[in-house]
């Protein structure tokens, strides 16, 4: 059990930062909001920083901030959790196969280690049944497999479930969408908002626009799904 404190302009940003630095998905962190923070009037004056306390059962060493926030490292971000061993890899694969064997679709599961995570690829689902609308079914499978895998394992394992390269394609189209919206924001000099996105998707959008000096990005909304506001700098 370890406790950390994080600050951000909003609680959302603080949580995102915590998740990034500790390398744990936001939904698995125990979060106490110490100070909700306020944007002030129109986000201009009297803004107060949000402060949160994060408790986690996983054994982790927080990395240096500079290392994780660099946008260029987005894809090859060094992961400092212990690499999953053969047993964990095999177990996660078995958990997913077990579930899929009870769904009437012929599939095979391939497993590999990617950046210290376990990547499970489902092959054979041509219809996209296991992906679902906007990846909903895939996310559900991933969530359940993570829960089960982490219940069995002492150390924190992260499992990414993909089918027919959906996540890769999704990431590419998100980056493209983010850049298009960024161009629009710069042209009109007005903020542009994305659809409701989950934390992982928001992270992709934030990172895609981070190198752009003329734009700011900010998450807006409550709950797990939020919009990302893309704001032109004046």
């Amino acid at each position: 059990m370890q406790t950390f404190e994080f600050e951000g302009r909003t609680t959302e940003e603080a949580i995102e930062q915590a998740s990034r630095e500790l390398n744990i998905p936001a939904e698995e962190l125990e979060i106490d909001i110490l100070e909700p923070g306020s944007a002030g009037i129109f986000g201009l004056v009297g803004g107060k920083k949000a402060k949160i306390k994060v408790t986690t059962e996983a054994q982790i060493t927080p990395h240096e901030e500079t290392e994780t926030i660099e946008a260029n490292h987005a894809e090859s971000e060094p992961v400092e959790t212990d690499s999953p061993d053969e047993t964990e890899l095999a177990f996660a694969k078995e958990v997913l196969e077990n579930i899929l064997s009870r769904i009437p679709v012929e599939t095979t599961v391939h497993s590999q280690r990617v950046n210290g995570n376990i990547a499970l690829n489902i092959r054979g689902d041509k219809s996209g049944l296991l992906i679902g609308r906007k990846g909903k079914t895939l996310d559900a499978l991933q969530y359940i497999v993570n829960k089960i895998a982490n219940k069995a394992s002492e150390k924190k394992v992260r499992v990414v479930v993909d089918s027919e390269d959906y996540r890769k394609r999704q990431e590419e189209s998100l980056v493209e969408m983010a850049r298009d919206m960024g161009e629009k924001a710069k042209k009109t000099q007005k903020p542009v908002a994305t659809d409701l996105l989950n934390p992982h998707e928001r992270r992709i959008v934030h990172l895609a626009l981070k190198p752009d000096e003329a734009l700011n990005t900010k998450s807006k909304g409550d709950g797990l799904l939020k919009k990302v506001l893309i704001i032109p700098k004046k």
Binding site: V95, I103, P104, I144
Partner: protein, 76 residues
């Protein structure tokens, strides 16, 4: 569908032997009732119902393949 819910539920809880799943088949929709040990209800529902929502999503996908509809009921 009963099998699917049962295998997921058993893997999630601390007392798999207390997991009981019954399926009531209807014309188009069937109801899958899930009962677990009292201490395990939280594990099945999850934070803000996320685990229950995920199980329902997977159940819906599996049912859709069979042109059916299934509803998951978690009994207390």
């Amino acid at each position: 569908m009963k099998d699917l819910v049962e295998s997921i539920a058993k893997a999630l809880v601390d007392r798999p032997d207390e997991v009981v799943v019954t399926e009531i088949e209807g014309h188009q929709a069937s109801v899958v009732e899930l009962k677990v040990a009292k201490e395990d209800i939280g594990k099945i529902i999850g934070k803000q119902g996320r685990t229950a929502a995920a199980i329902r999503t997977i159940l819906n996908a599996a049912s859709a393949k069979l042109d059916k509809r299934s509803v998951l009921q978690i009994l207390e």
